[in-house]
Symmetry: C2
């Protein structure tokens, strides 16, 4: 076990018992003080943000990789991401040491502490990286089966390629937004079955998709694939992703070239990137794979992660959100090393800051389905929200919030949340 | 007619009679002197590059928009693109004036001329912009019909949505490369009809797609569509695009989420961006649209462009390339204003430097088909190269070169070329 993951570690910074951000987590993000100033890189600890640019400026990152560079006083994680695992481990070890209860260097330096430790309510979170390319996979067998059953019948639910490769498509990078960004209901073309010609108007079947995304660290040169065995060296950490989807627009447009306007009006990310190193204790086996994947997709050992995922919905008329889905990242059929190996096997180059997303994480039980499309079975079985309201798809004013966390022994490594509200069509 | 487009204009810089770059063109690109130095923005005139950073540094861009800013001493066009039409017209007018035969300011200033005018063979061209998102349309009715006929039969060639909206998908931005970049034949999964399970190996049906791309200038805010009537204010200019495609990989992977590894191993761009202003005299009508498009896709007047397009192929055994396709941009069914309006109608935001591409430009006759897939009808009718060689798909060592130009009265506004060679699988 890496020392920074030791369950017995405690911080001198107060951390509430149910916090997503004990000293075992140390997620990275980009923040700006509400009082003003330039954005910079921070790490969450309890209900505070540790300002890494402040620590960097006074030479606290004194390991061999980080001593000669400056990577935290910027508005994106990209420069840090490009440095790779050596830098990430070194930064994490330094931060973990500075925050542990028995280390006085920062704890007892009131001046530095005041400058470096910012209450979370005093900051605004930004997108963690400049994301060059965003790739969305489709790696939940349950999700693909559910969607396939609805649209093509249960006999032909899974396409012939699905069990042989992690299907994916390129999503839109420009419309990635940080948690807290509200989105207008999109307009678009759709063709209800009842009419001959397509119609234009606000989407009538707006949905979320519960996903997890991974930020790429060092990339690969064009023409040089990343073998599955090396994939984890190229991934820095994970965030929650809401791949908002307009089902009516998507259904009409997606043949034969895939989703476009049904998705690219906005995709929301949680701001704190939970590092692969913090997630290491929660590695677990994914589903058995049959047929066995082709050799280039071969991996061994536990290659999934036990990450609890929840979806909460709050209508404009509700005082509190209600949970409508519980799922887990470990249900995914294709693992992240297979996704990276497949993505690059043709020589496609990944770059630091690229985002790969899992696809909707649906589990085996109906309450674990990661979209309203599945939870309401294409609107045929509305869900109840507890206050008398029903939902087939999202209505104006609805707020959707995802939460995610790994449960350790006496602590959790959490993702915080990604939240957003649907505003009326403009 | 804009003065800069006057067919009678001549430059004091020598321009060969068949040049793509007379004073009526003035395409923008990013170059680096082979002798060293930083990249900067240039304009092509005859067989020279005019270094705009040099002119900017000595205050030659003295119009109201460009006087207070510096946008040419950088490695991308993005800053200039973001300024919009006012800046573009001002820059073009300044450059046109400085280069016209009767203007002595630069012509007779030997010191400045020596610094600002670089022979084209002394520079290396780079990608013209940092391209955040790359969108590929599918707007040739002939191409969609050809492909649909081969895969689904002539009765079901066009999908039901095709005549109602300009179908598109998101391509890969990271693997966009400038003309002259050779690409290795990609590896990937495919499933020949003759076998039960998919196989892995180098692609056996590598192809090109003849396309034209447009660079976005000022973008739109997320949630705010660009009406079709305003679309041309958001496009700076055009380049040639080779959307290399591995048909066997694509055929196996693309259902249901569209092309991915069959395309994202590399997409080649010509380096010189021909401005919409230079293309203005070549506007022409596109095909009649029936059924009439929905109101948000309505445009009036000539909205296509008469751009001759050619594909040349040269095998490793040939001394000269042979032309294998002649097509024209005007064959496209959906015009660029409709593409922009559709892309943003759901609120999706475009950003300066984004690339939109037309999709394969196939015309009505077999010699105008813009891909080997169509030219050889899925390999069933090999084409001959004139030296006894045949082609179904591309072989190692093949060089593919696209050329494009508008024919004026006594001059041409040309795109130069986009070229690339297929290297063996690595």
């Amino acid at each position: 076990m890496n020392l920074t993951n030791d369950p017995s570690l405690r911080s001198w910074v107060a951390v509430p018992p149910d916090s997503d951000c004990p000293i075992q987590n140390l997620p990275f993000g980009v923040f700006r003080r509400r009082a003003g100033g330039e954005p910079g890189v921070g790490v969450a600890i309890g209900e505070h943000v540790l300002d890494l640019a402040v620590l960097e400026a006074v030479g606290r990152f004194d390991g061999p990789v980080l001593r000669p560079v400056k990577v935290f006083g910027t508005r994106t994680l990209n420069a840090f991401l490009a440095l790779g695992r050596g830098a990430w481990s070194e930064a994490r070890a330094t931060i973990s040491r500075l925050l542990r209860h028995d280390e006085p260097a920062l704890r007892d330096n009131a001046t530095l502490r005041e400058r470096a430790l910012v209450p979370m309510q005093d900051v605004e979170m930004l997108l963690p990286a400049e994301i060059g390319d965003y790739t969305d996979f489709y790696s939940s067998r349950e999700h693909a089966t559910n969607v396939g059953s609805m649209f093509r019948g249960p006999d032909k639910a899974l396409m012939p390629n699905w069990l042989h490769l992690p299907v994916a498509y390129h999503g839109r990078a420009s419309s990635l937004v940080v948690s807290g960004t509200d989105l207008h209901r999109p307009h678009g073309q759709s063709k209800p079955e009842s009419v001959e010609a397509p119609v234009f108007g606000p989407s009538r079947s707006l949905d979320f998709e519960l996903e997890v995304g991974y930020l790429v660290g060092p990339g690969n040169a064009l023409g040089t694939p990343i073998p599955a065995a090396d994939a984890l060296d190229h991934l820095f950490g994970m965030v929650l992703v809401n791949d908002w989807s307009a089902r009516d627009i998507q259904a009409w447009e997606y043949v034969p070239l895939g989703p476009f306007l049904g998705k690219n009006f906005g995709t929301s990310l949680s701001p704190w990137v939970v590092t692969m190193e913090a997630l290491e204790p929660f590695r677990t086996d994914g589903p058995a794979q049959d047929p066995p994947p082709l050799p280039y997709l071969g991996t061994s050992g536990p290659m999934s992660y036990d990450i609890n995922l929840e979806v909460h919905l709050q209508s404009g008329r509700m005082d509190e959100p209600v949970r409508i889905c519980r799922s887990n990242f470990k249900y995914l059929y294709w693992n992240i090393a297979q996704q990276v190996a497949h993505h690059t096997v043709n020589g496609c180059n990944l770059r630091p800051g690229d985002l790969l997303a899992s696809g909707t994480v649906s589990g085996p039980t109906p309450d674990s389905f990661g979209s309203l499309l599945e939870l309401t079975w294409r609107g045929t079985r509305p869900i109840t929200l507890g206050n008398g309201e029903e939902r087939r798809f999202l209505e104006d004013g609805d707020r959707v919030t995802f939460r995610g966390w790994c449960q350790g022994n006496g602590y959790r490594v959490g993702f915080g949340e990604v939240t957003g509200r649907i505003l009326p069509a403009s």
